[in-house]
Amino acid sequence: MHPATPVSFLWLIPALPAFGVLFNVFLGRRAGHAAVSLVSPGVVGGAFVAAAYAFTRLLALPPGSALAERLYPWITAGTLQVDVAFRIDALSAVMVLVVSGVGFLIHVYSVGYMHDDPDYVRYFTYLNLFTFAMLVLVLADNLPLLFVGWEGVGLCSYLLIGFWYDKDASAGKKAFVVNRIGDAGFLLGLFLLFWNLGGGAHSLSFDEIAAHARQIPAGTVTAITLLLFVGATGKSAQLPLYVWLPDAMAGPTPVSALIHAATMVTAGVYMIARLHFLYVLAPLSMGVVATVGALTALFAATIGLMQNDIKKVLAYSTVSQLGYMFLGVGVGAFSAGVFHLMTHAFFKGLLFLGAGSVIHGMGGEQDMQKMGGLRAYQPITFWTFVAATLAITGIPGFAGFFSKDEILAQAFSSPHGSVWLWLLGAIAAGLTSFYMFRLLFLTFFGECRADEHVRHHIHESPAAMTMPLIVLAILAVIGGYVGVPEHWLWGNRFAAFLEPVLGAPPEAVSAGAATEYLLMGASVLVALIGLGVAYQFYIVQPGLPTFLAWKAQGAYNLIFNKYYVDEIYDLLFVRSTVRLSTWLWRFFDVGIIDGLVNGTAEAVGANSGLWRRWQTGNVQQYAASMLLGAMAILGYFALRR
């Protein structure tokens, strides 16, 4: 690893969105819609330009270099000496480009989508704030600063999910609380790491941790990595802490696109990729990560099959795709996981924005059962949506194919992987294909099932919304070509780019081109099967799904109700916690603290109630008191002699 090259412009990247926040907070109301529509996307666009410039600078340097900038010392407390410092190496370059680029597109989209919302300015304030926090997260040179960004995006997630809080803010609360549980794990991992880094001052920068990693006892490393992974399950919505993400669909759709598809939820994956040198030292944790990822992928896919709300399907799809990313990093294929992160940002962001376009055109309707035949009304939305669907289902030639395929291949062949993991992933891929094509067919094909009145108003979305769709569609198509398999075209340039930072992809246990092609064929096959079944169910025989649901009612109800996980959590954890906190509130807060404060006031009042009787209003009595006092003083002096 080459030493980092110091530069002085990295601070611009997060600073521009921060400026956007300040602008919106102080001048937004007065400056008006048009100004905010220019400034907020503009600052993110500016951040992207700065990031692109940094990327070109990085490319000019030898592989494995990094650009670094140290802003100022932040924590100086004994052995803990943490700086606010930014770093762009291959990994964070990818992340920062994705965050700022996709973020910019979503900002532009929001200009159109949120146009009629009375809280327009507040929305962009939060959106810029989120972008700032996310950029801090990916640019951070050290783990505590990463955590600052981590918390920041959690906060903004709460603010944005609960954006329409006058309607209902409980989804935002749920997101925040569940995230906090994960964050507790993260913090414990962080403390444990700091504790075990040995003597001397520590900045907890990634370079430093990498240098000291081998000195930490094996069991401790496992504990640290597992705890950090708990944080990742919260932030990136894996089992068991995924429950907030489907509910988060209560927020505006561009928010779902940005936060819950392209950026925030990927923070967990990024964190593990960043700390890969720790994870490779703890095979147990890797196994846990991979297993949880694979199980989540399958679990969420099954739920997504049956949902009727378009956004809920996409939400569960996100959880499932995140599972793939964790599966990737869990088997040691760090660059594959990051690759899928990038392509997922493209196509899932596009899917959400497309869904937003549909919802916008349908006047707010989100139930797919009331949609249908929309391809005639919203052609641009339709074609971009098709591109995204092809990408996510892994149809060859599109972005998702390359990234998902690589993960599955690594799951099968890596020393950390196994056949079973591959199988879970493959089945999930088939389900993914099915539910995505189901969504496509239900929404865009067939008879339009909307009311007369709604149907008259269906229109294609304005340019502010369709332009980002088109850009993302292009990326969804071509984005995968940076990472084609080894022997094709120019090989996996993406992995090569990331290799100095993330290490080489694991040595395949059962190598060989034949196995690889076999696996590739298998994933294409399941994708096509999914397509076929969906076609059958929703185009050819529309009555079939209902019939099957009726036939297998028990199973259907179970899955449709998300396996009752929320209800179970409520019963097991939520109710008792609420009861405990209510009791604590009553006992301590109201009883003791309020009692002390109010009691003090009452005591003072009672005391003065006693003494006020001295004020009789009778001046002569006052004079008598004065005389008495004067005599007492004189007496004292007299008797002193």
Binding site: R613, W614, T616, G617, N618, Q620, A623
Partner: protein, 102 residues
């Protein structure tokens, strides 16, 4: 001038002062109370003049000068207050002017 010792004057002044103080505490009419206050001030004046004579220093008489001035000012303002109070309450009875009561 001759052999009247200064203590006699002081005792006289003390007596005068006491009479004034008792008057302040006992009378009901505010104006009379005020007059008793003037009595007390005069007792103090007597002490100053007596000591001035005792110490052969003019400073005591200067102080008496000031006391008189201040007493004049105080009487003026005090009587103005009494007039204002009388206008409000139609009484100069100290017992009835007890608005500052708790």
């Amino acid at each position: 001038m001759s052999a009247v010792p200064v203590e006699w004057f002081l005792v006289l002044a003390a007596l005068l002062f006491t009479i004034g103080a008792v008057g302040v505490l006992v009378r009901r009419n505010i104006i009379v109370i005020f007059m008793c206050i003037e009595l007390m001030l005069n007792a103090v004046n007597l002490v100053f003049v007596a000591f001035s004579r005792q110490l052969h220093s003019m400073d005591g008489q200067v102080v008496v000068f000031f006391v008189m001035t201040v007493a004049a000012a105080e009487a003026a303002v005090g009587l103005a207050i009494i007039i204002a109070a009388f206008r409000n309450r139609e009484t100069v009875n100290a017992d009835e002017l007890n608005l500052l009561r708790w």
